[in-house]
């Protein structure tokens, strides 16, 4: 199976190099803005180097689809074999050189500390989606997942993660789509504690990637997805539902980079901040010099419901060639739309019911919850419980 994309993007690092970087790199090299220097509160992750490995996983209370694969502090658990899917355990000893990007201290610390991993290879198009859970515990948990999709095969993966407030979890997921392959990845990040998730997706010639994300806040949740369209006519569509409630922080990033010619990528996010939540919706659309004839877009819409809530949007565009089809972004951060609220109130809904509906529609937007079996209505009720009014 091809892995040219990975080698092209990331210079593999030895353990000695990682140790040096963990000691020397800051969490972030350049401040985000003068007024708000770091969108991610990196202090929440300071324990990642020293916190003891979590003794056992903590389950989220929400009912969800039955997972056939589970990563927890005690190891990888495979519930049942699925046709068309090869699963292998991987451990740090199996990874001689680290092939994920290392941009800051936490990337290096994760590369040195993760303990449980899985390699998934989609060899045939499966009948059902593969459900993979990664659960953190009260302590540190670190996971690494690699997924490959064979040429012409369409994979479906649901990835659910949760960490209790007392825990720190770092997760890396690398997915590689061979030429002509397809992957539908539904990520549900239920937040909770300090959670750092980094996904790297490499899409080769004529391959197609669909990402659905539902991400909630926590002590500090940093959820980042980088999609590299390296092949000719590679495609990606990323949709995200984001929520942050009282006392929670979420920094969500969706980046799409068109490196191959005639690539097509779009990312869109809907976010809602209830109570004094904090939500950052970020995204980069980049067309590199080799991405001639490509098309890229990013769109984000964040509603701030209450006094004390913070909603930030950072849509970025980098275009390195004049030979592009289109590159655009649009964002809005605003109060609940007056007309919609008026319409709903006029029909007899209470302010709380309006809040519930706006939260529910945001959560349902990406389709990730539906794929995970988590009831959006139940989650919306749960989320707004902490907010008065």
């Amino acid at each position: 199976m091809s892995s040219r994309g990975s080698a092209e993007l990331v210079r593999p690092l030895t353990r000695a190099e990682l140790e040096r970087l963990a000691a020397s790199l800051p969490y972030q090299r350049i401040r985000d803005t003068p007024l708000h220097p770091y969108y991610t509160n990196w202090k929440a992750f300071e324990g990642a180097q020293t916190l003891p490995w979590a003794p056992e996983p903590v389950e989220p209370e929400l009912p969800r689809a039955k997972a056939s694969l589970r990563l927890d502090p005690q190891g990888l658990h495979v519930d049942a074999a699925q046709r068309g899917l090869e699963v292998a355990r991987i451990s740090p000893e199996d990874v001689r050189e680290w092939g994920m990007p290392v941009d800051g201290k936490l990337d290096a610390v994760h590369a040195l500390r993760w303990g449980v991993g899985a390699r998934l290879v989609f060899t045939e198009t499966p009948e059902e989606a593969v459900v993979l859970e990664a659960l953190g515990g009260r302590g540190y948990s670190g996971y690494h997942i690699e997924a490959q999709v064979a040429p012409g095969v369409s994979g479906r993966l649901v990835f659910i993660t949760y960490t209790p407030r007392e825990g720190i979890t770092t997760i890396t997921l690398k997915a590689e789509l061979s030429p002509g392959a397809g992957l539908e990845l539904s990520t549900v990040n239920l937040g909770g504690g300090a959670v750092y998730v980094r996904r790297l997706v490499i899409v080769e010639d004529e391959a197609s990637y669909t990402s659905r994300i539902a991400s909630l806040g926590g002590v500090m949740v940093h959820d980042r997805e980088d999609v590299y369209l390296i092949g000719r006519r590679a495609k990606a569509e990323v949709k995200a539902s984001l929520s942050s409630v009282e006392g929670e922080k979420l920094d969500s990033i969706q980046n799409i980079i068109a490196r191959g010619p005639e690539a097509e990528g779009s990312a869109s996010a809907r976010g809602i901040v209830n109570g004094r939540g904090y939500l950052v919706s970020r995204g980069l659309g980049r067309v590199e010099a080799t991405g001639r004839g490509s098309k890229i877009s990013y769109e984000s819409y964040v509603i701030v419901m209450d006094d004390g809530g913070k909603g930030y949007s950072v849509p970025m565009l980098e275009v390195d060639t004049g030979d592009i089809l289109d590159a655009r972004h649009s964002t809005a951060v605003l109060a609940p739309p007056e007309e919609e609220v008026f319409y709903l109130r006029q029909r007899g809904l209470s302010p709380r019911e309006v809040r519930y509906l706006l939260t529910l529609s945001t959560l349902e937007y990406s389709g990730a919850l539906e794929a995970s079996g988590i009831k959006a209505a139940q989650l919306a009720e749960h989320l707004i419980k902490s907010v008065s009014g």
């Binding site: 090299r29 350049i30 401040r31 985000d32 803005t33 003068p34 007024l35 708000h36 010099a289 001639r292 964040v302 701030v304 419901m305 209450d306 006094d307 004390g308 809530g309 913070k310 909603g311 930030y312 949007s313 950072v314 849509p315 970025m316 565009l317 980098e318 275009v319 390195d320 060639t321 004049g322 030979d323 592009i324 289109d326 590159a327 655009r328 972004h329 649009s330 964002t331 809005a332 951060v333 605003l334 109060a335």
Partner: protein, 471 residues
């Protein structure tokens, strides 16, 4: 008023040619140190409070790190620059004839004397580190408007200067702001009294005359309650053998209900590294409008910003940047909403061609309590060939649930169908491209004073014509 023909419609290199040797009576060059700062203060015969302010800024300059996001400044060796150059002009002249011929000729070639006569209510002209000419029309004086070189304001109006100078844009903000305050020289001071509205613009024009020179002019505009002023800033330089460095600062304070328009037409020659620090504070119901047209320079960093401090204050920033050739325009705007019912609008248009780099960095911040604040940002970038690039980095930070911040941006090339349509109707490729480029900028031209829009339009046409691709 038709000013076409008055203002230069060519690049500064074409108009001004190579830098002519000019005499300097004082030249302070070399390592930036306490003794250099004290020497600048001494030769300028400054009061002690200003000397101390400079020294405090120097301490900050030494402590602050080099901003990591600033790209392309490796060439600058601050220690080899002439940080203060006093041209051979004893006092600022009030007649062009009083200026040395080689200095006067620069301004004549740029059309400043004619422009002054026909359009401007006041003018302050700086060559190297000092104002060499300034004149204010009588009706301005009668209305109580003060427009003087910054040094004169320090001497004659210390209380006003102390209240505002380096307080709107504090030197602690970044290394180049601190450097500016430590080494500032030149610039204009404008005070518009309560209720006075001046509809004819005033202008300050800055010219760098030699290689390895650093220019640090400081402009301070204070508009008292209910007043109106339009300040135009222009800058240029002849062809220089090596680079020069510009690190200017503009501070604006618009009191309740005042309106300040601040327009910059930047046309430095292609080896000037241009750093700008621009900020205004708008009180209740006041308005600050920034207009920026940037064509020249090797690298430009400019981010006009407004702090909307009073209820109902508003601001706009309209920026046009052209990057033609291997040059960088790093620009953007910041709007900080601190009060209820504040409004802001940012429009940024850029064209990159022939290896040009355009970067937009913007920030809209709505603080908690800025009820029903509204902000809108629009960025449009046009890339005319495969070698040029455009980057957009906007940050929208909303801490107030009743606020609304919207943003949209596009980056694209000229439409093939549009080009085909025009070619089909008999236009050459160059004519068609020129028309489309001007069309791209046209909607923004309406926001620029008519006279300057006409000139800017022509300068762009001529600039692109020389490339062979447009015009």
């Amino acid at each position: 008023m038709e000013v076409r023909g008055l203002l230069p419609e060519r690049s500064p290199e074409d108009i001004l040619g190579y830098a002519s040797p000019t005499k300097a009576t004082v030249e302070l060059r070399g390592k930036i140190s306490r003794s250099l700062v004290e020497e600048i203060s001494r030769v300028k015969k400054e009061p002690d409070w200003m000397r101390r302010l400079r020294l405090r800024a120097l301490e900050l300059f030494e402590k602050l790190p080099m901003p990591k996001w600033v790209i392309g400044i490796e060439e600058i060796d601050l220690d080899e620059l002439a940080h203060y150059v006093r041209p051979e002009v004893r006092e600022p002249a009030t007649s062009w004839d009083e200026l040395p011929k080689e200095i006067r000729e620069y301004y004549e070639k740029l059309g400043i004397p004619e422009l002054e006569a026909k359009l401007l209510a006041g003018v302050d002209v700086q060559f190297e580190s000092e104002t060499v000419y300034y004149k204010v029309k009588e009706f301005l004086r009668k209305k109580g408007v003060i427009m003087v070189p910054m040094e004169e304001a320090v001497r004659r109006y210390p209380d006003i200067v102390k209240e505002y100078f380096a307080r709107i844009f504090p030197p602690s903000e970044h290394k180049f702001a601190a450097l500016h305050v430590a080494l500032w020289s030149g610039g204009a001071f404008v005070y518009v009294p309560k209720g006075v509205k001046i509809f004819d613009p005033v202008e300050a024009f800055f010219l760098i005359g030699r290689s390895l020179e650093a220019q640090f002019e400081h402009t301070l505009v204070i508009a008292d309650e209910g007043s109106y002023i339009h300040f135009i800033e222009g800058c240029s330089a002849p062809m220089l053998k090596r680079y020069s460095f510009h690190d200017g600062m503009v501070e604006i304070y618009a009191h309740r209900g005042a309106v300040v328009k601040f327009s910059t037409f930047q046309n430095w020659s292609k080896n000037v590294i241009n750093f700008n620090n621009k900020r205004g504070i708008a009180e209740e119901g006041a308005r600050i409008d920034w207009i920026e047209g940037g064509i020249g320079s090797k690298i430009t960093y400019t981010y006009p910003s407004t702090v909307l401090k009073g209820r109902g204050a508003s601001s706009s920033s309209i920026v046009v940047q052209i990057s033609k050739g291997p040059y960088i325009k790093d620009s953007g705007s910041k709007m900080i909403h601190l009060a209820p019912y504040t409004r802001s609008k940012i429009i940024n248009k850029s064209i990159s061609v022939d290896g040009g780099v355009n970067i937009y960095r913007g920030l809209v911040k709505v603080a908690r309590g800025a009820k029903r604040a509204r902000a809108h940002v629009e960025c449009q970038s046009l890339i005319l060939d495969d070698r040029s690039v455009a980057y957009t980095y906007p940050h929208n930070q909303v801490d107030e649930p009743t606020a609304q911040v919207t943003h949209e941006a596009t980056t694209g090339r000229l439409g093939e169908d549009q080009l085909f349509y025009l070619r089909q109707r008999g236009l050459t490729e160059q004519e068609a491209t020129s028309l489309l480029v001007m069309g791209f900028l046209e909607d923004i031209m309406g926001d620029i004073p008519f006279e300057y829009a006409a000139v800017l339009r022509r300068v762009i046409e001529v600039e692109f014509a020389r490339l062979g691709g447009v015009g």
